[in-house]
């Protein structure tokens, strides 16, 4: 059977509008030159007043506490504190990069192209979902470090008693609930498939014997939060009539990501002291804080 070749619209470069154009020399080259000069001067200034950090020679026997990755990876290191290492460090960032790369194949309309916030509602969606990302991530971090329960108790004298202890943070759902014995040893695959490295800190790593409470805490809840909460946000915005197009959905998703990413980076950098305890930046000894500020 012959298959018909269906002609699809293919995006082509836009026709040029000659009468709207200016000459690259001098208009653009001038701007580029100024920008380059400004950066050169600023960087030279910075390099004069601030030295690149250099600590003692590397020593495999002396582990600084805390040990931190470079600042742009501290968002991942922060995630790592809340879930299975492979998930936080590799799987989630890889999937997210894949999703980002796929943006243009998901949203193929030309509306709002080439201008800042070019669609209706774009600014509103960006601000709201950015805030949701920022506040939501803050809240989750506070909760998981047990601070919420602590504040409730300390400031308002509220305590759930022992029955509600499992709500203190994520881990307490594993330790504070009366899980039956068998739940932490479920045989569900006939072969020993090692998908996640077995020496990864914490959590079930072999699929043969599933430690369900452990799995729930290390992977289940984090997956639900990371997939569920953004979906919920976009769904709510759709119901509210704000997110109507694919572009709108991407605006919400991306802005939420920027908010969450910013908070994760910030907390990982400035709010994590010894033993990766959550502390305020001013409680952080300078030497422990931002790498390089020793």
């Amino acid at each position: 059977m012959a298959t018909a070749v269906v002609a699809r619209p293919v995006a082509r470069p836009q026709a040029r509008a000659r009468d709207e154009e200016v000459l690259v020399w001098p208009d653009l080259v001038f701007i580029e030159f100024i920008a380059a000069m400004l950066f050169t001067i600023t960087l030279f200034f910075l390099a004069t007043v601030m030295n690149a950090p250099l600590l003692d020679q590397a020593n495999a026997d002396v582990t600084p506490n805390p040990s931190k990755a470079p600042w742009y990876l501290l968002n991942l290191q922060e995630l790592l504190l809340h879930m299975n290492a492979a998930m936080a460090g590799v799987i989630i960032p890889s999937i997210w990069l894949g999703i980002m790369a796929a943006f243009p194949y998901f949203d193929r309309e030309n509306d709002g192209q080439g201008v800042w916030f070019g669609t209706e509602r774009a600014v509103k969606i960006t601000i709201i979902s950015g805030l949701v990302g920022i506040i939501g991530t803050w809240f989750l971090i506070l909760w998981d470090s047990g601070k919420i329960a602590f504040f409730l108790n300390d400031w308002f004298g509220l305590s759930g008693g022992d029955n509600l202890r499992f709500l203190e943070n994520v881990r307490s759902m594993q330790t504070q609930l009366p899980w039956p014995e068998w739940a932490s040893d479920i045989t569900y695959l006939p072969f020993n498939l090692k998908l996640l490295a077995s020496d990864a800190p914490g959590g079930p790593t072999e699929f043969q014997n599933l430690d369900f409470p452990g799995w729930l805490v290390e992977q289940g809840i984090p997956i639900m939060a990371i997939v569920g909460l953004p979906s919920l946000m976009i769904y709510a915005m759709w119901k509210a009539g704000w997110v109507l197009t694919r572009r709108d959905a991407l605006l919400a998703l991306f802005s939420g990501f920027i908010g969450a990413y910013g908070i994760l980076t910030l907390v990982g950098t400035a709010f994590r002291g010894q033993g990766q305890e959550l502390v305020f930046p001013w409680e952080l000894k300078v030497s422990e804080g931002i790498p390089g500020q020793e």
């Binding site: 960087l43 470079p70 990876l73 243009p104």
Partner: protein, 250 residues
């Protein structure tokens, strides 16, 4: 149009002629000084560096607030890092015995050595930030939309390469900061399912951050990754031209 009566050349004109219309200048630049539209277009079209640009662009794109020059500045950082990096390479030997001492040496004994190291460090941070901001500007101006889909993908690859460039450079001073940051970082990579431990081993050339890791990171940092980044940047810039310049409303 009024008819211009030719005036006698002033001293300024004579100096100008001597500077820009002489045989040597013209052998290099072909055009005279670009002060007429014809010469301005010629200079962009005939100069290999300026030729990254088209000769004319849409007027909305020269507004600073459209791009904030972020992509261009990312590239500028890349160039600056290349220059300062080459200067640092003169003095730095990637061996566990020497690396740390070489850095100290650069800072104390080399003329402007501390300056070069500082510049290299701060430019690297600046590049990571600028590339990220550039991505945000492209997103919020909807510039990934057709026909620029693929250039956005190239951009995501460049983002990853920028992170990797910075990450591999982080180990080279071989101080406590470097050593433990890379230990933490590669542990993160090593936790990946299936390929994690293997890729960590491959990256470190062993099970621990040691001499083999140093030489691997060095090689990736000074040649492997910059080469890849340069190739992808070439594709990135080429595609901008092929896709009809920067995005603008239809």
């Amino acid at each position: 149009m009024a008819i211009e009566t030719p005036t006698k050349p002033t001293l300024g004109d004579k100096i100008y002629d001597a500077l820009f219309h002489n045989y040597v200048w013209k052998s290099i630049f072909r055009t005279g000084y670009p002060n007429t539209p014809r010469n301005q277009m010629l200079v962009v079209a005939t100069n290999v560096f300026l030729h990254l640009h088209p000769t004319r662009i849409h007027r909305t794109h020269v507004k600073i607030t459209h791009t904030y020059c972020l992509g261009g500045l990312s590239f500028f950082m890349f160039l600056g890092l290349t220059i300062t990096g080459i200067l640092l390479m003169f003095y730095y030997v990637p061996s566990v015995d020497r690396a740390y001492l070489d850095i100290e040496n650069i800072q104390t004994n080399v003329q402007f050595g501390q300056m070069m190291r500082n510049l290299h460090r701060w430019m690297a941070h600046a590049m990571v930030i600028l590339v990220f901001l550039h991505m945000m500007r492209v997103f919020y101006t909807g510039a990934y939309k057709p026909p620029r889909e693929f250039n956005w993908v190239v951009g995501v690859i460049l983002l990853v390469l920028t992170f990797l460039l910075s990450f591999t450079g982080y180990l080279l001073p071989w101080d406590q900061l470097a050593f433990w940051a890379i230990t933490v970082g590669t542990n993160i990579a090593g936790s990946a399912p299936v390929l994690g431990p293997k890729s960590r081993f491959w990256l470190l050339g062993g099970l621990q951050v040691g001499p083999d890791a140093l030489i691997r990171f060095y090689t990736l940092h000074v040649i492997g990754l910059p080469l890849l980044a340069a190739i992808f940047m070439a594709v990135h810039f080429w595609r901008i031209r092929r896709d009809g310049g920067l995005a603008r409303p239809l």
